[in-house]
């Protein structure tokens, strides 16, 4: 009489259960069912289970690899109820990590990934980031929370894929620069807070400190600027933080031509917003007068036509500064002029003090400010419609007369 393999396995499993009940299951015993895809399939058949392929694949757990932080621990140390065979249906319920890593679970419980009931059933379970069976130190190459892999973990739930093409993601992923910012560098790891929470690394007023961990000098300078001081000291929500100009995830390389070309539009997001500017008594004409000027016209055309081409025309930050933008309020005209000249000379090497009289200082020409330009414009505002209007009137009269048969043959030499 021949036994079918299924019956043999059933016998083996029964034998294993008996042995396990007596001695506690060993990893080798677990491997008999979970060691390979074939073994999982055979065990499923024995228990008359129909496993979807992806679940079957998940049940394949090779023996503990060397180098894992949990090397030396047995399967049943984390899965104690696996000794029951057949395994109970809620075998995976609960968080086995909590047994040893209480502190870490407690830390996550203060974060956005917390268990809403305060237990260890975290929204982002430990193994979601660290992996389940082959957990490695984050400094090790194969670690799923190492610089190179962590974005992959976070992006399995979150959607900010632009990180990968931003300067930081690019540096880590393509350039192999492990010190560049990963998700955890800015958001934290176990203690990630929503950007709405006070104390979050990504709360607007804290952003400069978060970026400042690496970009310290720039962050210090920013906090002395008109924007940085307003948010740091007064918690003003209107002013831009680092990420408003540099984008939080798809952070662009500010040395790229395209950043420069598009930068006036970036400043205009706020400075051409009349409702926002009215709150601070600022004029939105700063942008329209810039666009009307040589520099601005060229910059606008570059942005439309060749956004990646190097632009050598002045953009907002060439004159106003980058991270050290200051208000002109409370500064005397002479001081402004002296600073202006320096800025002009950065490009126009031999510019003299009279040089920037060729610029309206963001004023629209009026009878008081730059009257020569005002009157020239005024002249054409009258003369163009006047002349063209006269032309059209005369033409209409002449056309009408000729249609009525006047002209042609009347008078003349014929």
């Amino acid at each position: 009489m021949r036994y079918r393999s299924g019956q043999l396995i059933t016998l083996a499993v029964v034998a294993m259960v008996l042995v396990a009940a007596w001695a506690g299951a060993t990893d080798e015993q677990c491997q008999e069912c979970h060691g390979s895809a074939d073994q999982v399939a055979a065990a499923a058949e024995a228990f008359e289970l129909k496993l979807p392929p992806e679940k079957a694949a998940r049940l394949v757990v090779p023996a503990m690899a060397t180098g894992s932080v949990h090397e030396g621990m047995a399967c049943v140390d984390c899965h104690p109820r696996a000794e029951e065979i057949p395994h109970p249906s809620d075998l995976l319920a609960g968080n086995p990590c909590a047994t040893c890593h209480e502190d870490a679970v407690a830390a996550v419980n203060t974060s956005v990934h917390r268990d809403p009931r305060g237990g260890s059933d975290l929204v982002a379970p430990c193994w979601g980031c660290h992996g389940a069976h082959d957990v490695r130190r984050k400094t090790e190459a194969g670690s799923s929370v190492g610089a190179f892999r962590i974005a992959d973990r976070c992006l399995s739930c979150h959607v900010q894929k632009e990180y990968l093409s931003g300067v930081h993601g690019h540096a880590v992923q393509q350039a192999g620069l492990d010190v560049a910012a990963t998700c955890a560098s800015c958001h934290g790891s176990h203690d990630i807070l929503s950007s709405r929470d006070i104390g979050s690394r990504t709360k607007r007023r804290n952003v400069s400190f978060t970026c400042g961990k690496c970009h310290g000098r720039i962050a210090d300078t920013y906090r002395t600027s008109v924007h940085g001081a307003a948010i740091t000291k007064d918690d003003n929500p209107d002013v831009p933080t680092c990420v408003d100009c540099h984008e939080p995830h798809g952070t662009r390389d500010p040395n790229q031509a395209s950043f420069r070309v598009s930068s006036p539009t970036m400043c205009a997001r706020c400075h051409a917003d009349s409702a926002l500017m009215a709150k601070y008594g600022l004029s939105t004409k700063v942008f329209s007068t810039y666009v009307a000027d040589f520099h601005g016209t060229t910059a606008q055309l570059f942005q439309a036509v060749s956004p990646d081409a190097p632009l050598n025309q002045a953009v907002c930050y060439d004159c106003h500064g980058v991270h050290d933008i200051a208000s002109i309020r409370g500064v005397g005209q002479e001081q402004i002029n002296a600073r202006m000249l320096e800025r002009c000379q950065a490009c126009h090497l031999n510019a003299e003090a009279s040089f920037f009289t060729a610029w309206t200082g963001h004023y629209e020409p009026s009878r008081d400010k730059y009257p020569m330009i005002y009157w020239v414009n005024f002249f054409y505002k009258l003369v163009i419609p006047g002349t063209v209007g006269f032309f059209i009137l005369y033409i209409a009269l002449d056309w009408w007369a000729r249609r009525r048969g006047r002209g042609h043959g009347h008078g003349g030499a014929a």
Binding site: A309, H348, T360, I384, F391, D398, W399, A401, H410, A414
Partner: protein, 268 residues
């Protein structure tokens, strides 16, 4: 029955060449200039894209502007040659008759006068356009020279540069609209007048618009060209040399002393 049209010669080859140069320059300057004036418009960006970028558009604009400026200098010298050396009447310059002609044409069109004005080689409409063209070109060239080297002039008179830009921009629009209305009407609509391209105008139109000139031609009474005496040629040569040296000196002064501003191009 075939209707044969008698053609009368109106323009010589040099007139035709002048007009072609002017036509190409004007159209080119409008096409390369207006996208800069209206840089925020979508169509402007499209045209700049067709020309291959802002840098190339500006280069073309400067090139055509230079040709037009040289043409203006050439034309002024031509006028001097006619007036000083050959002592020919300057038929394109307006005189009081033109005002009378204009008034008579208006009255005739309103049905209050019997005949149309009997005009000479150039009608009041043509003279008006000629004056506007010379005046406009001169203004565009002068302001254009300022705008070509804005940083050079900024050191001399800053606001003047910006006023020049405003004038360049306003005058351009005026000229363009004048061509679209006045010029288009008189040579395309009132009559389909192709004489500036082929030199010939049909006798009927000639008679209507240039009655006196046609009669003069029939009388074979061409204005006498004076002999080019050495003294008058010398005066002309002196003026021509002054003009050429003046243009060259201005150009050298600007080039030598201008703070160079180069717009980076996208490249080929």
């Amino acid at each position: 029955m075939t209707h044969t049209v008698e053609l009368v010669r109106r323009f010589a080859r040099h007139h035709i060449v002048h007009h072609w140069i002017m036509l190409v320059c004007f159209a080119g300057l409008v096409l390369t200039g207006f996208p800069q004036k209206y840089s925020e418009q979508a169509w402007a960006k499209g045209i700049i894209l067709i020309f291959g970028g802002v840098g190339r558009t500006r280069f073309l604009h400067h090139l055509l502007g230079t040709v037009m400026a040289l043409q203006l200098v050439w034309h002024v010298l031509e006028v001097v040659w006619h007036a000083v050396v050959r002592r020919l009447p300057l038929t394109m310059l307006p005189d009081p008759d033109d005002v009378r002609h204009f008034w008579q044409q208006v009255m005739f069109n309103l049905g209050r006068a019997e005949g149309q004005p009997r005009m000479g080689r150039y009608t009041f409409a043509e003279k008006l356009e000629y004056l506007a063209l010379v005046w406009g070109t001169a203004l565009m060239v002068l302001t254009g020279v300022v705008l070509l080297y804005p940083t050079r002039w900024a050191a001399v008179a800053g606001e003047f540069v910006l006023a020049s830009k405003a004038a360049h921009s306003g005058e351009a629009l005026l000229a363009f609209l004048a061509i679209l209305t006045w010029h288009a009407y008189f040579v395309h609509m009132r009559h389909s007048n192709k004489s500036i391209f082929n030199g010939m105008l049909d006798a009927e139109t000639y008679a209507e618009e240039h009655a006196l000139e046609l009669e003069r031609m029939w009388r074979d009474d061409a204005p006498k060209r004076a002999r080019a005496t050495a003294g008058r040629v010398a005066i002309f040569t002196l003026l021509a040399v002054i003009a050429v040296v003046g243009v060259a000196a201005l150009w050298l002064w600007l080039r030598a002393s201008a703070i160079p501003i180069i717009t980076v191009d996208i490249g080929p």
